[in-house]
Amino acid sequence: MPSVRVAGVGLTPFGEHPDRTTRDLFAEAGIEAMSDAEVRADAVDAVYFGNFVGELADGQGHHGPLVAESLGVSAPATRFESACASSGVAVRHAVRAVECGDADVVVVGGAERMTHVGTDEATAMLATAADAIHEVSAGVTFPGAYALMADAYFETYGGSRRDLAHVAVKNHGHALENEYAQFQFEVSVDDVLEAPTVASPLGLLDACPVTDGASALVLVSDEYARDADVEAAVEVTGSGQASDTLALQDRETLSRTPATERAAAEAYRDAGIEAADIDLVEVHDCFTCAEVFALEALGLYDPGEAITAAREGETWRDGQLPVNCSGGLKAKGHPVGATGASQVVEMTRLLRGDHPNSDYVSEASTGVTHSAGGTVASTTVHVLEVAR
């Protein structure tokens, strides 16, 4: 089976681009990735594109061929929609396509444009990731759904808003020098605790922002990398995906995220690693509490133990397990359909040494990315390793 190499990466700055189009955002990231990989448009075998609410935000469906066209690529192109995990799932399928020999060169990524619609409309769009019949009809918003999980977590394991605030402080700290991040400023624990409540126990600074942006990767087979003499130091060695019930009410427990546990088990098995081998992670921290859930479900902390990790300094970039050195969704921003692939972009930059925070993790050789859709009803986990 061919192994899968990351030959090139690209991002737009994450933030507010209300006057641009989704296709143009993706073109910027995609062209950067293709140029980084030194790959020509006619070498691309497939385009996999993640996008969540193109129809609602742009009045545009059918984004697959549209974004391929924006890159000057005429290869088969497909859009993937899995809410906030849309491009995590796209990466998963791109990895599989290379592994099974279907493709040697895949451009994969995602884009989203949401800031132009305003808070009301964005809240309504994000809520469509929840169950329309059982949840949205009962006033569940996206922050509200995570707030229910945080409430259940506190009830089961303890923990406080102050513990969660430290996650926000850390991720803002990590984003300071990341030129692609939406929030390149620090926040204090008090700032987080004093911010207006969105859905208790979560406040405005517990939540990731609404963001426009795009991400792209060029994934290639090791054979192609060798033949084309492309430098591709990072290998995707493991991939996992899992689902859960869309509605929280149908789950056995609200304080854990078993889909992540299953996706991680598959990805670690695929890569032949254990949780103890992981040097750093990029996890889906759409809310501060989500980082805690992810760290426990990835097997990096026992249930109930990750809540104090940021407060204790363990997950800072100079700690024992650096988490979200990019700034995470919390500070880097969350252009929904772009997020899953952007984590792989950031992990690649961290591992190959061209990320502003690479110096903090120069010994790292194994990184894991975790992408989650809705309340972790869709999830992907990828293992990236510095190729030996």
Partner: protein, 129 residues
């Protein structure tokens, strides 16, 4: 009740049954509960679902005070959304309570349905006992 009958149960019928004081849930032969629309048990895949009476009282498992709402709920904000355990099933609803901070885990609630013009679907309401 016949096994075929359940395939036609809709969420609307589920809501209307609450309004007429006759709430139900769907049960598979192994006793897993679910609510419509379902054709198979989400837990085990069994296709023979029967209609059973839903316990009248549920208990709040998790709750949040939602301050930033979608436009359909903007007039009610801040309001409490909760998940309550009714035994065979858990349900998600808006708690009818004037003081949102007063809703606690373990609060016993009964079911009601609210219909408004702004909302596409009926709202499941939890009334604290």
């Amino acid at each position: 009740m016949s096994e075929r009958e359940t395939a036609s149960r809709t969420h609307d019928e589920f809501c209307r049954a609450i309004e007429t004081g006759d709430p139900f849930y769907l049960a598979c032969p192994d006793g897993h509960g679910s609510v419509p629309p379902r054709r198979v048990c989400p837990e085990c895949g069994a296709q023979s679902l029967t209609v059973e009476a839903l316990p009248e009282t549920g208990r709040v498992q998790a709750a949040t005070v939602v301050h930033v709402a979608t436009s359909a709920f903007a007039d009610s904000a801040p309001y409490v959304t909760a998940i309550a355990d009714f035994g065979p099933v858990s349900l998600t609803g808006v708690v009818a309570e004037t003081d949102p901070e007063a809703v606690e885990h373990g609060t016993d609630v009964t079911l009601a349905i609210q219909r408004t013009d702004e909302r596409k679907r009926p709202t499941l309401v939890f009334e604290p006992r």
